[in-house]
């Protein structure tokens, strides 16, 4: 059994390249999920509230806990162990089981095999690794956890290794307290019954334990007797689906990059197809010469083929979206990782094709490759007071963000919605019968009835106002310096066409037209 203590902390330190002895805490849902030894010395514990932890340790670095990071960063460790001995079972990130029988014969003894593993892991920069060897996985895990104490006693040169001789597991486990089960209810109950250690618990009859404590209790009983399962289920090494293209010298032109990356993209799609998979989301990472990284997850309405992958790389470079890439030097490395893979069978074409939607997608992808990812849009209606805020554009292929438009929006427009909503409000002029501009005072009173108005370029014309309504105040984000104070008017001119006008800071704009 191979154990890396505090793996979430190790993973976070390696991911964010922090100092090894930094006081670090990973937070999940406002509580400390894991903390580094330095933080633990200052009294930070798992389950502590974030504010309390920060009070106890002022220099605490707080990061959100990411379970996927743990899994991802443990992958190199598993791969490194697999290169020297086969049959690794990852129980959870930071803990894996290896069958010792074969390696101990190959390397001569169990000690030799364990030290080879420790040396291999030290070579990839992982020093705090403990090894426990015993009859079963549970006993081996406890042995690995027990190394800490023995290590402190003996000389520091000794390897963090604990070997329980064959058949000695019940004896080793018998002295351990009940807390090692990590089942608080069972532990408390057994303590009340006068059972203090695993040895006491193992001495009970198996049938009685099953009758009294059920399946969970029976499992714990078997574990405490050192009789839990002996099998180690080998891991099937996962397929390498991600691809990386290196460019030497770095490429600075997008078309060069797209051309050079094409073969890699074809290899990526071919690799997926061989595995019987299709990819519906990819993570594209662009590394530059100066060490910048631009990462983005791209989704696809159907699934990616090679052209689509090249397009996504190009769009990410063009920075057509709000999240601009802002890269300043040449691209040295492009990495494409499948974000979501699905079975090819679920996406196969029907016998007679999949109907019009497929051709729609192809046509739109063509337009997208001409104009860019953000130029072909679908729209959803969101909440908002101003009409332009109420429409949200989503590039074709992206999934819409969940919006709740059922919320009330005080100040939204009553009646029919205008058919033309200007993307940028058009300047307008509204004057009263004497030719003075119409204004609204802070109490919301109109200075005079509007009599004439013009919108847009026809500033020299004056259209008589037939009927009007307003002002309807809109006070957006009054607590925020960037908030707006607007007054809305509806005006109908003498030809019967209606306009929606806005008054902001004595300036008139046309928001929309009911044409």
């Amino acid at each position: 059994m191979l154990w890396c203590p505090d793996w979430p902390i190790t993973a976070a330190i390696r991911e964010h390249s922090l100092e090894v002895h930094a006081a670090l805490a990973l937070v999940d849902g406002g509580e400390v999920f894991a903390c580094s030894p330095a933080a633990r010395e200052n009294g930070v514990r798992r389950g502590l509230r974030l504010r309390e932890a920060q009070a106890r340790c002022t220099g605490l670095i707080v990061l959100p806990y990411d379970p996927f990071l743990d899994i991802r960063s443990f992958e190199p460790v598993t791969t490194a162990v697999e290169t020297i001995m086969p049959g690794v079972q990852v129980l959870r990130p930071g803990l894996c089981a290896i069958r010792i029988k074969g390696p101990s014969r190959y390397y001569g003894s169990e000690e030799n095999a364990a030290s080879v593993v420790l040396q291999t892991l030290a070579a990839i920069g992982l020093t705090d690794v403990r090894v426990g060897i015993a009859d079963g996985p549970f006993a081996a895990e406890q042995a690995a956890k027990a190394t800490e104490a023995t290590e402190a006693l003996e000389d520091p040169q000794a390897e963090p290794l604990c070997i329980i001789p064959p058949g000695g597991s019940p004896w080793f486990l018998s002295t351990l307290p009940l807390d090692v089960f990590e089942q608080p209810r069972l532990a408390v109950l057994l303590k009340r019954l006068g059972i203090r250690s695993l040895g006491d618990f193992a001495a009970l009859g198996a049938a009685d334990v099953r009758n009294r404590f059920g399946a969970e209790g029976a499992l714990a009983h078997r574990q405490s007797s050192g009789l839990d399962h002996f099998s180690v289920v080998d891991r099937t090494p996962p397929l390498q689906l991600e691809v990386t293209a290196h460019f030497e010298p770095p490429l600075v032109r997008i078309d060069q990059l797209a051309f050079a990356f094409r073969r890699t993209a074809e290899g990526f799609v071919a690799g997926l197809r061989r595995a019987g998979l299709v990819c519906t989301a990819v993570q594209v990472a662009l590394h530059t010469e100066s060490g910048e990284v631009s990462e983005r997850l791209w989704q696809h309405p159907r699934w990616f083929d090679a052209d689509d992958v090249v397009d996504r790389v190009r769009w990410q470079l063009q920075g057509t979206n709000a999240a601009d890439h802002g890269l300043t030097s040449g691209i040295t490395r492009v990495q494409v990782v499948p974000g979501l893979v699905e079975d090819l069978g679920d996406h196969a074409d029907g016998l007679w094709g999949t109907g019009p939607d497929e051709s729609i997608h192809h046509g739109l992808a063509r337009v997208q490759s001409m104009l860019g990812h953000g130029a072909v849009l679908t729209a959803v209606i969101a909440g908002g007071r101003l009409l332009a805020d109420r429409r949200v554009y989503i590039p074709w292929g992206d999934s819409p963000a969940a919006q709740d438009k059922t919320q009330p929006w005080p100040g939204r427009l009553p009646g029919p919605v205008p058919a033309t909503v200007f993307a940028v409000p058009v300047p307008a002029v509204v004057v009263d019968a004497r030719g003075n501009p119409v204004a609204v005072d802070p109490r919301g009173l109109v200075s005079a009835d509007p009599a004439f108005f013009t919108v847009g370029a026809a500033i020299d014309q004056r259209w008589p106002v037939h009927s009007w309504a307003g002002p309807w105040p809109i006070n957006e984000r009054w607590w925020d310096p960037g908030g707006r104070m607007l007054n809305r008017f509806q005006l109908v001119d003498s030809s019967g066409s209606a306009w929606l006008l806005l008054l902001e800071n004595q300036e008139w704009f046309s928001e929309a037209s009911y044409d």
């Binding site: 019009p356 051709s359 729609i360 192809h362 046509g363 739109l364 063509r366 337009v367 001409m370 104009l371 130029a375 072909v376 849009l377 679908t378 729209a379 959803v380 209606i381 009409l387 109420r390 429409r391 554009y393 074709w396 009553p414 009646g415 029919p416 919605v417 205008p418 058919a419 033309t420 909503v421 200007f422 993307a423 109109v446 009835d449 037939h466 009927s467 009007w468 309504a469 307003g470 509806q490 109908v492 003498s494 030809s495 019967g496 066409s497 209606a498 929309a512 037209s513 009911y514 044409d515």
Partner: protein
């Protein structure tokens, strides 16, 4: 002009002979190009022209009784009318596309019954208007666009032949050469707004459709008539059934009704 359309015109034609466009049928044609032009006008866009579902209020003034697949239509001065034309096909599941109209209001489109999930927006095609429009004509059923400032007649002809080949419909805001019909709002009146009171509630419009020969048909509709889906019984379109007699003009809210420019 098909006999049925001519009959419909006779029934619906306004009493004023100056508007009826009968001059196109006068026999004094002097030259061959003139004759060819008239033959082109009288040809339908395709022999077995399929009709797309259309809002009933507009179907009765369009030539052929609705949007013909492969046809092109122009809307002169109104985004509302363009939306009403899109609404019919979209409500029955057709994909629609809006090119080069950044001010297209999707919220109003939803009120008209346009399915936003099957609505593709390309607000800014830039210099590639023709390529983008042609690419979309290939895949969607209805394309709404703003007619570009300059378009070579050969490009127009190519786009038209592509429309016919694909059976798509092109609706342009602004003028368009050789379109099957040009729609515009001739008169419009709003109700619900006073002098500083109320808010806009309902609208009544006189919609005119002009065919290339200059024939003019018109109908009086309310905003709700345009928002009625094509599957609803056309008999319910009472406003559209109304014949445009002078008496009927009085049924509009007369004080508010003014001629548009």
């Amino acid at each position: 002009m098909t006999p049925s359309a001519a009959g419909a015109l006779g029934r619906k034609g306004p009493p004023d002979p100056g508007l009826s466009g009968s001059s196109a049928l006068q026999p004094d044609v002097s030259s061959l190009p003139d004759l060819q032009f008239r033959i082109n006008q009288m040809q339908s866009s395709r022999l077995d022209s399929r009709r797309l579902p259309t809002v009933p209020a507009l179907a009765k003034i369009l030539p052929g009784g609705g949007l013909q697949s492969g046809g092109s239509y122009a809307v002169r001065n109104s985004a509302t009318l363009a939306m009403a034309l899109l609404a019919g096909p979209s409500a029955t599941g057709a994909w629609c596309s809006v090119v080069g109209l950044p001010e297209f209001s999707v919220e109003a489109a939803e009120e008209f019954g346009i399915n936003l999930e099957r609505l593709i927006l390309v607000p800014d095609p830039g210099a590639q208007w023709l390529t983008v429009t042609a690419a979309l004509v290939d895949v969607v059923s209805v394309v709404l666009t703003r007619s570009p400032a300059h378009l070579a007649p050969s490009d127009t002809a190519r786009l038209k032949s592509r429309l016919r080949q694909r059976g798509a419909v092109l609706i342009t805001q602004g003028t368009w050469q050789q379109c099957d019909s040009t729609l515009s709002i001739a008169e419009s009146a709003w109700e619900g707004l006073g002098a500083g009171t109320g808010h806009l509630r309902t609208r009544r419009m006189k919609i005119t459709a002009t065919n290339p020969a200059g024939r003019l048909r018109h109908t009086y509709v309310g905003l709700t008539d345009l928002q009625r889906s094509p599957w609803q019984a056309s008999g319910a379109g009472a406003a559209g059934e109304r014949s445009p007699t002078p008496h009927d003009g009085g049924a509009l809210f007369q004080p508010a009704l003014k001629k548009s420019s």
